[in-house]
Symmetry: C2
Subunit: 370 residues, 2 copies
């Protein structure tokens, strides 16, 4: 039996290292939320309260439970507001149509379905609304449509709308409970760490670039272009950053982030880092061009170049640390003056190479962070 346990734990450890633990936790959380919401069917007293409307609670849990807590909260709030607005307008339209009666009834219902559906769909295509309220607009269309056409058949539109809203509320509460209170996946944490780690990526790319330049031919081939990968990942991180910032705005106060935390600053820092990554990538392709000086000419430049590069990388790492720990960047002035001194030295030494202007760029980029 012991050997069985050992093999199981070994399997789990291996599996744990292979897959991201956060995904497994998220999956288990969703499973628990689904079981909780299914209790409305499974337990008789609960079923007698809500009846068939328990379906809406299940639907709510399945649809709004997202990986990040902020995304779940945002979708839930959108769904709630969309349901209330759509239900309210739908009830009004249904009552109005009932008072007209006859064929006019159906015509009015069809007309209102068309007008509200088309208007809400158009609003979903406007970028600023799409980014934050897309799901709410969809739910508005759905609820409005269901309520207004059900009004034709079932007498008690109000009752239907109220019961559904209540069950959606139950589903939402279950989601919030499992998503925010049990091992929450904060988008804000992820954004914070990913922005900070970009400094590291760019810094190590700069170092790798320089090492590759002063290496002999053999060593170079071994290394390959691993360093550029990091830089390219930074370059294409814009849409992910924006998504995370969008979710982070929905997230309530928690941990080190207060209310109205300036998430836009993260996007700005990301933008600057992307510009720096552009510079590093093009510096790399410059250094790889066949018009570079030969090995002998490179010798005298080795020391100042490596020193400026390692200083840049060190400065980026310090910036990363200070962002991670959320403290002021202390050594800013010092770094800047050192970088300026090295640049002057470099300019005197190698007026004929084109390294200097590019490094200047990087400095400017670094300076723009400070």
């Amino acid at each position: 039996f012991r050997s069985y346990l050992a093999s199981v734990s070994g399997f789990i450890r291996e599996w744990r290292s292979k897959y991201d633990m956060r995904r497994v936790i998220h999956s288990i959380k969703v499973g628990i939320a689904l079981v909780l919401v299914s209790l409305f069917y499974l337990v008789n007293p609960l079923y007698n309260q809500v009846g068939e409307n328990a379906m809406w609670a299940i639907m709510t849990v399945v649809v709004i439970f997202e990986f990040y807590a902020g995304a779940t909260l945002g979708k839930g709030i959108n769904r709630g507001i969309g349901t209330i607005l759509g239900g309210g307008l739908g009830c009004m339209a249904a009552v109005l149509a009932q008072q007209i009666g006859g064929v006019g009834n159906s015509v009015l219902v069809g007309f209102s379905v068309f007008v509200f559906g088309a208007a809400a769909t158009y609003s979903r295509l406007i970028p600023s609304i799409k980014r934050r309220y897309d799901y709410g607009a969809m739910i508005f269309i759905l609820t409005f449509n269901l309520v207004v056409v059900s009004g034709l058949r079932a007498g008690q539109v109000m009752d239907i709308a109220r019961d559904r809203l209540a069950t959606i509320g139950i589903g939402f509460a279950i989601c919030i409970f499992t998503s925010l209170l049990v091992f929450p996946n904060w988008a804000s944490d992820e954004l914070h760490v990913s922005v900070a780690s970009k400094f590291e990526d760019v810094g190590s790319s700069i170092e790798g670039c320089m090492e590759g330049y002063f290496m002999s031919g053999n060593e170079k081939e071994k290394q390959g272009s691993n360093n550029c990968k990091n830089c390219k990942a930074v370059l294409h991180s814009k849409s992910k950053d924006e998504m995370l910032a969008n979710f982070a705005r929905w997230e309530p106060w928690h941990g080190k982030f207060g209310f109205s935390y300036p998430w836009n600053k993260y996007l700005q820092i990301g933008e600057n880092l992307r510009e720096l990554a552009v510079t590093v990538i093009s510096l790399r392709s410059c250094l790889e061009s066949p018009r570079q000086p030969t090995k002998n000419l490179r010798e005298p430049m080795t020391e100042p170049c490596s020193s400026v590069m390692s200083m840049l990388a060190w400065a980026l790492r310090e910036l990363r640390e200070s962002i991670m720990k959320m403290r002021r960047f202390q050594v800013g002035e010092e770094v800047l003056s050192k970088l300026k001194a090295v640049r002057v030295e470099l300019t005197l030494l190698t007026p004929q190479t084109m390294l200097a202007p590019l490094q200047k760029d990087e400095e400017l980029a670094v300076a723009s962070f400070l």
Copy 2:
């Protein structure tokens, strides 16, 4: 009455220029689809056929009708497969649970909800599945859950599942009809045009860059950094391109695109163009650095530089044309040899500037397209 008509048409014209016509058409299409699907409630003979299940048809239309035809088709197919799989497995689990009976019944249902829910949620987090089958997995969870818990209450699980599937099919058919047959918005067309227009963007950026360099100070300030905007837009187009290619893969044969059209090539071309954009942006920042030669020194370079730049821009425009018209790029050899000749000329002329290696890069990039 005539003046009224004139003012209406004027209003429409103004409004048309202001908003993207495609969005308006899409909104109207959604409105029409909603009215069509509402007919199942509005028209008595139809309602007698489907009953309350018409709700599922409405839900299907609201949820799967997307802006691009490919997205609608993809979501619809995902929904269909998810419903069939979830419904089938749910029926099996429900029948199994009924045979056990008693408390074991509820326990088995709860257990299966947890296991299938968690497993499907985990699969949704795997990038390759997330990209194409995210929605299908969600619908699988939803349908499985609804069917398996309904099985506890309603006797005829099979009937429920069959009716719902039928109404979802009706909703899907209405969506496909309005989305694909009436003014379709093909994602494939959009991808084709957007990739081709990137050549134009990069080409005009190269020209603008060069013009700015040889201009006097006054003119420069007027121009600003408009050209770089295009380049940056190209740089950050990766996620949009991938989204469009993903939708385009779902789209059936239409227009000039055959079956198994190589959408990956578009992504590769986009990748190369983004690299070229990196080069242009860094060339620009090099040219703006204070270490550039003074105006007098620039004079002799003006002519060869402008000629190489305009040739590059011309080549990019030719490439754009040939992609737009889907014909072979005829003048490739010619352009390449000319570019090489100009580069040699430029190298002889200005060994001390750092323009040449950068232009070399661009050539390499251009060459990689051919």
